[in-house]
């Protein structure tokens, strides 16, 4: 098989479940894994005579996300009914937005593995209600759970600007961070808060001619891993299929395939894009939305520095590594906590180390955010400063950090009470070192003999000093004194 020259094209349809208190058009609370049909009312059940009332918070969240994705926000937007029959859709139409979406023509910047940045264009973002769930676990019949029916979803559609599975994953993760930063979604993929449906095809160049493979829409992707793997699988599959059949893209040969997570393959679900006629028309039960300047400004004020921008700033401003900056900016709470500590005149690098090496681990064990460990940013800055000044060792700082989550004492008080303050007092250390040298003549001689034994002997002597001081000697200061005395 000769190697083909090809380019991958992926566009995404993303459904983001908004983190509102109640559903899109009624007062039912949003829930997850509740008893089936316990979060329902006449409106989300589509009972005769019931009417939808728009959830303003959902619209605000959508506008906020639209602004963060650099979209134009529509001055006039409306609700449309999308008609299709399915048992999980109580009214047999979904309230959505058809020709006048809330947000248009934006972009999202992603960071690629080589450190470069790429802009992926956003075609549109609109708001709609979710359907319920059909359950097929009861034997000879199906059951319908409508708890999810009416949940607000923001549907984001990108242009086919992604050229690899890695880029798709980068976009997905970036979007997850963004909506979490904005607080508009919990964006938990396992819970279905974010659902990605990639449209994948290839442009293959053979003998100077270009061929486009039929577009495949992939469904059932419940993790970033599945998203990435399914696209890599599709690339291979489409290449092979092209070689076998030479089939290219035409009207109506778009197909839908489902990802089988266990077998790691995509499986054909619908051969041909059915000529769906959703009979869209404006929902007469709802009034159009016309965001005015005042409202938009109020929403704009809720915008924050987005994760990627923040990450790049940390690298530039604080000299952090790409990795550290990435870890700190992964969640807004961690980044905010970091910056507050830095603002208290703290040492950025050491604060970063404390958070990334100790804080996140403890927070993870406790199942909370770093900012929720009960450590005031100021005290974290103090702890970092103590490490910087050599008052305590890096090892001891872990212990102090842990204790700080349990008590209200300052890091100094904790270090003192645990006897972790390093001895940097030259006078006191000199006496101890003199005593160590006196009691270990052999090692002193080994050191002076030079060669291989010398380094080993120095390490042994320093170890004796640490032992005598129960680890509280500042290793830097002790080492300097030791070296001075040995060279005398």
């Amino acid at each position: 098989m000769s190697k083909l020259d090809y380019k991958v094209l992926v566009g995404l349809e993303i459904h983001v479940q908004l983190y509102t208190r109640t559903k899109m058009f009624c007062g039912c609370a949003l829930g997850f894994a509740e008893e089936p049909n316990s979060r329902v009312c006449p409106v989300c059940l589509g009972m005769p005579g019931s009417l939808p009332v728009m959830n303003k918070q959902a619209v605000e969240y959508s506008i906020l996300a639209g602004l963060a994705l650099n979209c134009q926000i529509a001055g006039f937007t409306k609700w449309d009914r999308k008609s299709y029959y399915y048992p999980d859709l109580p009214k047999n139409y979904q309230i959505s937005q058809y020709d006048l979406p809330l947000a248009l023509n934006g972009n999202i910047e992603i960071s690629l593995a080589d450190g470069s940045l790429k802009k992926i264009r956003i075609r549109r973002a609109h708001l709609e209600e979710d359907a319920g769930k059909n359950l097929h676990t009861a034997g000879n019949f199906s059951q319908v759970d409508l708890n999810r029916a009416g949940t607000p979803l923001l549907e984001i559609v990108t242009e086919p600007d992604m050229e690899s599975a890695a880029e798709v994953r980068a976009l997905a993760e970036e979007l997850q961070r963004i909506v979490r930063y904005l607080g508009v979604s919990e964006a938990d993929m396992q819970k279905g808060h974010m659902r990605f449906e990639p449209n994948v095809n290839l442009i293959i160049t053979r003998a100077g001619q270009q061929f486009k493979t039929p577009i495949v829409e992939v469904k059932n992707l419940n993790s970033f891993r599945a998203l990435e793997n399914s696209i890599n699988y599709e690339i291979e599959r489409q290449l092979e299929r092209f070689l076998e059949t030479g089939e290219t893209m035409e009207m109506g040969n778009k197909s839908t395939r489902g990802w089988d997570d266990a077998k790691e393959v995509t499986v054909l679900q619908r051969e041909k894009e059915e000529a769906h006629d959703y009979r869209y028309f404006p929902d007469p039960d709802l009034v159009p939305v016309q965001p005015d300047e005042k409202w938009l400004i109020a929403i704009k004020n809720q915008l924050c520095e987005l994760p990627l921008k923040r990450c790049l700033r940390y690298i530039k401003e604080y000299g952090l590594s790409d990795y550290d900056a990435g870890v700190l900016t992964e969640t807004r709470a961690t980044a905010d906590f970091f910056e507050e500590a830095v603002k208290c005149n703290g040492d950025a690098k050491r604060i970063c180390n404390l958070i990334t090496q100790t804080g996140l681990k403890i927070a993870n064990e406790k199942g909370c955010k770093v900012s929720e460990l009960g450590i005031p940013p100021l005290q974290l800055a103090v702890l970092a400063q103590m490490v910087k000044e050599g008052l305590i060792s890096a090892t001891a700082s872990v212990t102090v950090f842990e204790k700080m989550t349990q008590s209200k004492s300052t890091p100094q008080q904790i270090a003192e009470s645990l006897n972790l303050l390093q001895k940097s007092d030259a006078g006191e250390l000199e006496g101890i070192i003199d005593e160590v040298l006196k009691n270990n003549q052999q090692a002193v001689e080994d050191f002076k003999s030079g060669g291989k034994k010398s380094g080993k002997a120095r390490g042994f002597l320093l170890g004796q000093v640490m032992q005598k001081t129960k680890g509280t000697a500042n290793p830097k200061v002790a080492g300097e004194i030791l070296d001075r005395k040995l060279s005398q």
Partner: protein, 488 residues
């Protein structure tokens, strides 16, 4: 039965000249005697009604402040949801449907201390002009039991005309309050779209549907409207109090409108039967004699109203009625082969012919490729008709014309010819398309002793003045006091 008006009865009940229990029992005695002839009700609630009446009497005796309809027996069209009894819409598909909530208007009636005696018959899902499309019951015209009561609120108008209740609620999508009111010789008001909450009114054409009172007198109509009007947060299309404050429609009712300018369109009226035209002319004379002036107006797009209506109403209906599918509630076909058959057979068996016809019409109008030619064009016509009214109301306070081109027609006379039936609404439909209020008041009888109605239309939210204008006429005439003689 002494044929008191609702307001007269209320005052007597409040003054303890008569008890609500006595009045309610009298109504049920009459129902027992007359209802088998008229067939106005789909369900009645004797026990519950007498209980409520007793409660009202008790509270009056205790000197409590009572609602505006204290102890008055009223009826509700069976397309408004009630937690008691069934809400059938006169359809087999909802024959056993028990609503889990009360429509806002039902809540308002109950809060006003009305006694609900029953739910009245209608054309299935309010689609029709004779109540012959009821899937559950036949209602006849109390003035001639071989004739139709009009429709779709024929049960409510027949009940009021036959003295089976003191007042009733109907719904009007294209004339469904005014036309049967005219054919039964009672007062019927379609309020401005947005004046009365639609929450709990089973939708037919959502952008046209409006609930309104059917009463013996204009005064009762004002009283009922005062009870049911007002903003409802559960209905996004109900107008807020700032835009359209709910007046006390009774306060100024007896004040004649000075310098009243009545718009007339003689060319339109020419389409009505001679006897109808004559009665309208007589009515106009009475207004002229009390100082009103007649102004000829031009309604250039009136002729297109029926065509536009049957696009808009059926398109909305096709979507509104999609939910009756046998999945969640209502009629389900026995032994379906698969879930598609649950849909197709339940709907084929559950809906009547006219409902199916309109669903098909509406589905077609919304189909891709036809949307612009039908639905969108109908919306444009709708705007033109709205514009015609705006222009006309620059020159006049109200417009007067017939309600129906004919008096009550024979049962079965038009059932084979839907188009002929649709033409019964030629004078009423435009008000729904424009969203303006219209009232039908009795203005005479033809040579067969069948009632004739005068229609008065006014600008949006002009109900207060509209009722005053209607009252001017009613106070000078006695048509509204005439009663049909049934086999009593």
């Amino acid at each position: 039965m002494d044929f008191l008006s609702a307001k007269q009865l209320r005052d007597r009940i409040k003054n303890r000249q008569v008890s609500s229990v006595e009045a309610t029992k009298a109504v049920f005695e009459r129902i027992a005697k007359i209802e088998p002839i008229v067939g106005a009700f789909i369900s009645t609630f004797e026990e519950q009604a007498i209980q409520k009446a007793a409660d009202v009497d008790k509270r009056i005796a205790a000197g409590q402040k009572m609602g505006q309809l204290a102890g008055v027996p009223v009826a509700v069209k069976d397309n408004m949801c009630t937690t008691f009894g069934t809400t059938t819409c006169a359809s087999k598909i909802l024959a056993n449907f028990h609503a889990p909530y009360n429509a806002t208007v039902v809540e308002k009636l109950l809060a006003a201390d009305a006694v609900i005696v029953g739910k009245t018959n209608l054309d299935e899902f309010a689609m029709g002009s004779s109540t012959e499309n009821s899937g559950l019951k036949r209602t006849v015209n109390p003035w001639d039991t071989t004739r139709v009561p009009g429709g779709s609120s024929g049960g409510s108008t027949a009940a009021v005309a036959a003295g089976l209740c003191y007042a009733a609620l109907g719904s009007d999508t294209g004339g469904s309050i005014r036309q049967p009111a005219s054919l039964c010789g009672v007062v019927g008001l379609k309020p401005t779209y947005g004046r009365v909450s639609r929450y709990g009114l089973v939708a037919y054409g959502s952008s046209l549907d409006q609930i309104g009172p059917i009463t013996q007198t204009v005064e009762d109509c004002a009283l009922m409207l005062s009870v049911i009007a007002g903003h409802d947060p559960a209905d996004s299309t109900s107008v807020d109090e700032k835009t359209a404050p709910v007046a006390d429609f009774l306060a100024q009712l007896d004040e004649p409108v000075k310098g009243l300018k009545i718009g007339i369109a003689p060319t339109l009226n020419a389409g009505a039967d001679e006897q109808v035209r004559k009665s309208i002319d007589e009515a106009l004379k009475i207004y002229k004699n009390s100082g009103a002036s007649l102004i000829e107006i031009d309604m250039p797009h009136f002729d297109y109203a029926i065509a536009a209506y049957y696009m808009v109403a059926t398109a909305e209906a096709s979507s509104n009625l999609a939910r009756y599918d046998g999945v969640h509630y209502g009629y389900r076909t026995p032994n379906p082969g698969d879930y598609i058959e649950v849909y197709t057979k339940s709907r084929a068996e559950g809906f009547g012919e006219e409902v199916k016809r309109r669903i098909m019409l509406g589905t077609y109008a919304l189909s891709s490729g036809y949307y612009d030619a039908y639905y969108l064009k109908a919306l444009k016509v709708r705007n033109l008709i709205r514009g015609d009214f705006v222009k006309a109301f620059d020159k006049c306070d109200c417009i007067m014309m017939p309600v129906s081109p004919t008096t009550a027609f024979k049962i079965g006379e038009k059932t084979d010819d839907p188009l002929k039936m649709y033409l019964s609404d030629i004078y009423t439909i435009a008000a729904n398309l424009a969203g303006i209020p219209g009232i039908s008041i009795p203005c005479g009888f033809d040579d067969k002793n069948l009632p004739i109605g005068l229609q008065i239309l006014s600008p949006a939210f002009g109900e207060e003045k509209l009722l005053r204008i209607a009252n001017m006429y009613e106070k000078q005439t006695t048509w509204h006091k005439k009663r049909p003689t049934l086999n009593e």
